[in-house]
């Protein structure tokens, strides 16, 4: 057991809500986490971004004291998740992938029940439930069962149940999985209102736009370890600057145009046949643009459209992990 032997002290961590060092967790031959590191400053939103099976949920489960790591250390709000799990539980909220509310209870009764489980008095639990119902725009549905709720309302109720004690740290495991776009932005608004009150949020997602929208800081995780991190902007910049999109006028010219782009930029462009578009990362944006257009013209290839733009997180992700992220994202 490596846990007992690792007693090196963590660095001064008062400014960090979550600190993880070298976390490892194996299931048989599969390493779910393999040297996973993370540092989340207080009051920020950290997005754990990665494909399914990358280890995101395993990391969250360890940080929420649901799972014991095989190696490494993790601290939440200054408490060790293995040695002081009860202290951690007083300081966290967890909103898991599944809705954990009871359909047989009314919306208010659900919140009151969770309040009671957090050792609030009946009266305090009721008062807190009413506050949360107002905060998440659920007051008019207070006496209904969540059975009839839309996915977005149900997630809002889950969020409300997760923050009954105003925990310093909130974990959201794929908060908008299987939600349609309207309800996703609904949940995002809920998360933003919590962050505005000073809650630190660690969320996992395989939706790039979700990380882009919510997170101050993104850690890209694959095969159980962080392979890149930074702000959304930093990640985009660090990975090859800008993208050049070219749309030839004729589909038949796609092949020839690809050769031109490859020659000019020295990188094999991505071909999107359906969109009749070629995309390639470029370093020197203006040079690349003018030279490409000149070469296209001298090769006799008509250009329908051309654009220089920042890469999307999708493109960043593909280049980091070598595989496309989930395309459930709308």
């Amino acid at each position: 057991m490596t846990l007992a032997t690792q007693h090196r002290p963590l660095r001064e961590s008062t400014d960090l809500a979550v600190r993880v060092e070298g976390l490892g967790k194996r299931y048989g031959d599969t390493a779910a986490l393999d040297g996973f590191d993370l540092a989340v400053p207080r009051g920020t939103v950290c997005g754990l971004l990665g494909p399914n099976g990358a280890g995101k949920s395993t990391a969250i489960r360890i940080l929420c004291t649901l799972l014991r790591p095989d190696s490494g250390r993790a601290e939440v709000d200054g408490f060790d998740v293995v040695r002081q799990p009860m202290h951690v539980r007083y300081r966290i909220g967890l909103v898991g992938q599944n809705s954990a509310v009871d359909e047989v209870l009314s919306t208010r009764a659900n919140l009151e029940m969770f309040g009671r489980l957090y050792h609030l008095s009946p009266r305090a639990a009721r008062r807190r439930a009413d506050e949360l119902l107002a905060q998440f725009a659920l007051t008019e549905h207070a006496d209904q069962s969540p059975r009839k709720f839309s996915g977005g309302m149900r997630r809002r109720l889950d969020l409300a149940a997760g923050i009954i004690m105003s925990p310093p740290v909130l974990f959201l495991d794929e908060p908008t999985a299987a939600l349609d776009p309207v309800h996703r932005s609904d949940v995002w608004a809920g998360v933003r209102s919590l962050v505005a009150q000073g809650t630190t949020v660690l969320l996992t997602t395989h939706y790039l736009d979700e990380a882009d929208q919510l997170a101050d800081h993104i850690s890209v995780i694959d095969h159980g370890r962080v392979i890149a991190e930074g702000t959304p902007d930093e990640l985009k910049t660090a990975l090859g600057g800008d993208q050049l999109d070219i749309v030839p006028a004729e589909s038949a010219d796609l092949g020839a145009a690809r050769d031109v782009l490859a020659r000019v930029t020295g990188t094999e462009p991505q071909v999107h046949e359906a969109a009749r578009r070629l995309t390639v990362p470029v370093r020197n944006r203006v040079n690349a643009l003018t030279e490409t257009l000149r070469e296209m013209e001298s090769a006799g290839l008509a250009v329908h459209d051309v654009a220089l733009r920042r890469p999307t997180l999708d493109e960043v992700f593909v280049r980091l992990t070598g595989n496309a992220p989930s395309h459930e994202s709308p």
């Binding site: 007083y90 599944n98 050792h119 305090a124 506050e131 004690m165 925990p167």
Partner: protein
């Protein structure tokens, strides 16, 4: 805005105990409210024994003979009491799976709840439901002419043995519920439990079965409980000459204790295993 300061876990034994009691009570209440709000499940659970009263007591009853003579419905009711306790295993497992498969158990485990409260709340609620089930069935029995002919002490002892069997099966139910993890798995439980209720002295005395089957039926822990309460209630149909049948009351206490001795540690281990 309610001011909520971050609380500390209790450090002393008294604090931990009072928290465990409070949390278990909240959990019990939650589990009971679930049944109050979905009475169809409770009524559905009683449907099989009550239909059995009508079907066996009246339709097949005339063709049934009780060894040593006596009224068949008097013989039948203790069997149905015992059977209902055995079916409780499905109740417990279903409730466990419902919580683990929906992530509710995980949410509870991530909260500052006494570690024992989830399981304690489950078993307390199940025991309360078992009492309600028994009360309903006793009422039903009284309507069809069943009577407890022993004294108050014997009556209490009989109820105690029934509830002891139910309590033992809670731990089997929790263990199975933690193993299953998906709602689909629960649907196979009832067909698997049914033979336990049938290859027993519920409807027919084992003395009237082929020898080998009668032996199996006598070995069934439920048979011990049913034979014991028939004796305590003063109902007809006492067992045969076998040692198992002669020592029903002893076995009705020993079997559940043995089940608890095996399945309580298994359940605790399985519950802890959730974090592996």
């Amino acid at each position: 805005m309610t001011t909520l300061s971050v609380k500390q876990p209790p450090t002393d034994l008294a604090g931990r105990l009072s928290r465990a009691v409070l949390d278990s009570a909240t959990m019990t209440r939650r589990n009971l409210i679930y049944w109050l709000r979905s009475p169809d499940e409770v009524v559905g659970g009683l449907a099989f024994p009550i239909v059995s009263v009508l079907l066996f007591g009246f339709v097949f009853g005339s063709a049934m003979t009780v060894p040593g003579g006596g009224d068949y419905r008097e013989f039948l009711m203790p069997g149905l009491f015992g059977m209902t306790m055995v079916f409780g295993l499905v109740v417990t497992a279903t409730a466990m799976v419902s919580d683990t498969s929906r992530g509710v158990t995980d949410r509870f485990r991530s909260m500052p709840i006494a570690p024992s409260a989830v399981v304690a709340g489950r078993s307390l609620a199940d025991m309360i439901r078992a009492c309600a089930d028994l009360a309903a069935l006793i009422g039903c029995g009284l309507l069809v002419g069943w009577r407890a002919r022993g004294g108050v002490l014997e009556f209490a002892a009989a109820l105690g043995l029934l509830l002891l069997l139910r309590f033992a099966l809670i731990w089997v139910g929790i263990y199975i519920g933690l193993l299953l993890r998906s709602q689909e798995g629960v649907s196979v439980l009832f067909p698997m439990v049914l033979p336990f209720a049938m290859i027993a002295n519920t409807f027919v005395s084992p003395t009237m079965m082929p020898n080998w089957l009668g032996f199996i039926a006598d070995l069934n822990p439920m048979s011990a409980t049913v034979a014991a309460i028939r004796e305590l209630f003063g109902n007809p149909g006492l067992g045969g000459e076998t040692w198992l049948a002669q020592n029903a009351i002893l076995l009705a206490a020993a079997w559940p204790l043995a089940i608890i001795a095996i399945f309580f540690p298994l359940s605790v281990h399985r519950y802890r295993h959730l974090s592996r």
